[in-house]
Each structure stands twice: as structure tokens, then as C-alpha cells.
């Protein structure tokens, strides 16, 4: 069979789709469970509420090696309204832990930016723990393009 260029491009693309489909079959729920367990550890068993915390991440990451993420929590950062820490977890990585930020009143704001590795398309979870013990969380899906070309 002689393939012309377009067919080759298509075939390679087809293989990529299959690869993604293959990954989807794997038990995502186990990883999500592990992440949920980590969240509970972090919050001391308290179920986080929605709101207050924002997670910024690309909808589609061009490369899973370096995905920029920013997290910020609404807070006066003084008195009782202080964010103590924020944990970032990735459901689909070999280990869910990514980073834990620790803030103080001297932080001024509860916001931080870093760059993370994502093994595949998955949910990224951020949980904030306030000084008064309340906890908030947010989840965002980041699609990771597998392989691509590019040597």
C-alpha cells in the first residue's frame, strides 16, 4: 500500500486518538479517590465548600511538562480572615500531590503561580484552608495534548 502524505498525517493522527481513547479506559476513579483522600487529610476530614478560591490554568496545555497555574483566594489576609495554606492536587498523575503553598499576613494576598507537570488530561484540584478552619475547593480540567509531533 502506498501512502501519500495526507494519509500519513491522518494515520498518525488516528493513532493519537486511539492512544487517548486507550488512556480513558484506565480506572480514573481510583486516582480521583486517592485525590479525595488527600483532600480529607489536608482539611482534617472537613468537606470543602465551593467559592472563594480561583484556579487559573489553560484549558488545553500545549505540553504537559510545563503547565502554568495560578491560584488565588479571596481574603483580607489580616485578623481572622487569613488563608493558611492551599494544596494543589492532580487527579491523573502518578502521585496526586503537586504543591502546598503556605501564606502569612505578610503575604498580603493569598495568590501564587507556578508551573506543573500533567501526565495526561485530568482534573486539577485546589483546596484552601483558612485560619478559622473553613475550607474551600475548586476543580478545573486541563486537557493535555499527547505526543504531537516534534522530536
Amino acid at each position: 500500500m502506498k501512502l501519500d502524505r495526507r494519509q500519513v498525517l491522518g494515520l498518525t493522527a488516528g493513532a493519537a486518538v486511539l492512544a487517548v481513547a486507550g488512556v480513558r479506559v484506565s480506572p480514573v476513579s481510583a486516582a480521583a479517590e486517592e485525590t479525595a483522600k488527600r483532600v480529607m487529610q489536608f482539611t482534617g476530614g472537613k468537606k470543602p465548600e465551593a467559592g472563594k478560591i480561583t484556579l487559573k490554568a489553560p484549558e488545553i496545555a500545549e505540553n504537559g511538562n510545563t503547565v502554568p497555574i495560578s491560584v488565588s483566594v479571596e481574603s483580607a489576609m489580616s485578623g481572622n480572615d487569613v488563608v493558611a495554606s492551599v494544596i494543589i492536587l492532580a487527579e491523573g498523575n502518578p502521585n496526586p500531590e503537586v504543591a502546598t503553598f503556605h501564606f502569612t499576613e505578610l503575604s498580603g494576598k493569598a495568590s501564587a503561580t507556578t508551573r506543573m507537570r500533567l501526565a495526561k488530561t485530568q482534573n486539577v484540584v485546589a483546596v484552601a484552608k483558612m485560619k478559622d478552619g473553613s475550607v474551600y475547593s475548586v476543580t478545573r480540567q486541563v486537557k493535555v495534548t499527547i505526543g504531537g509531533c516534534g522530536g
Partner: protein, 284 residues
């Protein structure tokens, strides 16, 4: 692979050929400004080019990847650039010299160097790339050991030297003794090789702007090298990228520093004439 999977593969392949044809995502319209200086990321193609307009690879990247290059602090290549700056004035070799001994302040003496490489060298009887020029200085003038093509020190030094030309238009000599090299590079560019039987042109001339699998194909311009690739998690040379492309099409890559890769580098530089040097760029 069983027959069901094969059928699926076929279906997917057909669907995606369609998508590749339909999903034409041209380069974006973003503007690259670094430190208040605007760089040229698209320009009318040089005379004799099969393209009408040429675009820096930056224009094909996602906004997040683009942002990494727009601030020298956020650009992950800069620790290496600083390493290059330190090496510039570090004495090495039996002659007791550093780069700075002869070339003083790189920000003046190295201005424009990256933009004009590869450059003909009479003594050598062939073009110097930035890497071979650095090593010629090291072995002949400094009496120091040559660095390997992809050694961290070499990448740091070529990134530091390249940065001094950032914003200057790429302009290489292609006539006189360089013509033969440029012609050889052109021939390599259009020759189909490897098990996939593809040439550089098949992707980077005929299909740039389209998606190949999940990747947005660029014109394969080399104005930002050495480049920090997110995939590599570090800097890499032009020849490393060539090598990666050749592996992708299941061909046996030429060696880094081979006459073939030097010729191809020259030809690609000439195809990118007029684009700003972006060293050290950031790509996916």
C-alpha cells in the same frame, strides 16, 4: 491489533484526514514584545521563497507558551543565559584566556553574530555554525578543550551570544562559496526520507498552520535557537531539532555538526531572512 481495532483505526484515520484538511488554524495575530521591544514575527518572504509570508514559530504556539518568552524573568532559558554570561569571562585552557580577553563586552562585539550564522570561513573551507565557531575559538585561541555540540556549556554560551542579536533580522550569505551549501541544504529540504517518506517541506511548507496530531505545525523557522523546549525541559540546538524531526519520520538522523545539517541550517536560515532573532525562544 485485532480486526475490530484495525477497523476503528481506519475510521479514526479517515475522520482525521478530513479534520486536518478542515481545521486550518493559521498563525495567530499576537505581537511579540520583550522588554518593550517589538520583534518581527512575520514578514514578506525573502526573494525566491516558495512562501508568500514567513512566520516565526512563536506565532503557532499557545498563549501560555508565548507568554513564557515575553518576559526574560519568566523565560526558563535565562538561568542558562546567565551561565553563558559567567562563562564568557571565565578563563579556560592553556593560553589563560577567556572569551572576554579578545572579544571584550559581548553586548557590543557579539551583536549580529547569531543573525548571520552559518557564516563562510575561508580557513576552514566551509561555513562555521555558532557552535563550531565557539569551539574554534576555544581550541585555537584559548587552547581549551572543545565542547560537545549539545553540552550544557555550549548551549549556555550560544544562548548568551545569540541573545546579543535578539531583535535583529536574520540575514545569511547565500552567494559565492555559500551557494553550494545553500543548494545542498535546499536539496535536503525537499528530499523525502525515512519510513514515512516525508521531506521537511511536506510538513513545514505544505501544511504549516494545520494540526499534526495535537501539534500546530509551524514553518520550521530557526530564528529562536538555541530554544527552550517545554518538551526537553531545557535548551537545545538547531541540529537537535533536525534530529528529532528526522526520527519522527522514521529516518536515521544525520549527526549534529555534519555537513548535511550545516547545509540545512544555512538553507533554513535563508528561508527565514527578515525574521527577528528570538534567541533564547520558548517552544512547546
Amino acid at each position: 491489533m485485532n480486526s475490530t481495532t484495525l477497523k476503528w483505526a481506519g475510521l479514526f484515520a479517515t475522520a482525521t484526514v478530513f479534520a486536518a484538511g478542515a481545521a486550518v488554524a493559521e498563525p495567530d495575530n499576537n505581537t511579540l514584545v520583550i522588554d518593550g521591544n517589538q520583534l518581527v514575527t512575520d514578514v514578506e518572504a525573502p526573494k525566491g521563497s516558495p512562501l508568500s509570508r514567513i512566520y516565526s514559530g512563536w506565532r503557532f504556539r499557545s498563549p501560555e507558551t508565548q507568554t513564557f518568552e515575553m518576559d526574560d524573568f519568566e523565560n526558563p532559558a535565562f538561568p542558562a543565559v546567565e551561565q553563558g554570561e559567567a562563562l564568557w569571562s571565565t578563563v579556560d585552557g592553556e593560553a589563560g584566556k577567556s572569551c572576554a580577553t579578545c572579544h571584550n563586552d559581548a553586548s557590543e562585539t557579539m551583536k549580529g553574530v547569531r543573525a548571520s550564522m552559518p557564516k563562510w570561513n575561508e580557513k576552514l573551507g566551509k561555513p562555521h555554525t555558532l557552535e563550531t565557531q565557539v569551539n574554534a575559538c576555544r581550541t585555537e585561541n584559548m587552547k581549551a578543550e572543545a565542547w560537545k555540540w549539545e553540552a550544557p556549556n555550549m548551549l549556555a554560551m550560544t544562548a548568551y551570544i545569540g541573545l546579543q542579536s535578539r531583535g535583529m533580522p536574520v540575514k545569511v550569505q547565500t552567494d559565492g562559496p555559500m551557494q553550494k551549501w545553500n543548494d545542498n541544504g535546499k536539496e535536503l529540504y525537499y528530499t523525502r526520507v525515512g519510513q514515512l517518506d516525508m521531506s521537511c517541506a511536506n510538513c513545514h511548507e505544505d501544511n504549516y498552520g494545520k494540526m499534526i496530531r495535537a501539534d500546530h505545525l509551524s514553518q520550521g523557522q530557526i530564528n529562536g535557537f538555541p530554544t527552550y523546549r517545554l518538551k526537553w525541559g531545557g535548551l537545545g540546538s538547531i541540529h537537535r531539532r533536525f534530529s528529532g524531526c528526522m526520527k519522527n519520520i522514521r529516518a536515521t538522523p544525520y549527526k549534529r555538526g555534519s555537513d548535511e545539517f550545516i547545509a540545512l541550517e544555512l538553507y533554513l536560515a535563508s528561508r527565514g531572512a527578515g525574521l527577528s532573532v528570538e534567541t533564547p525562544s520558548v517552544r512547546n
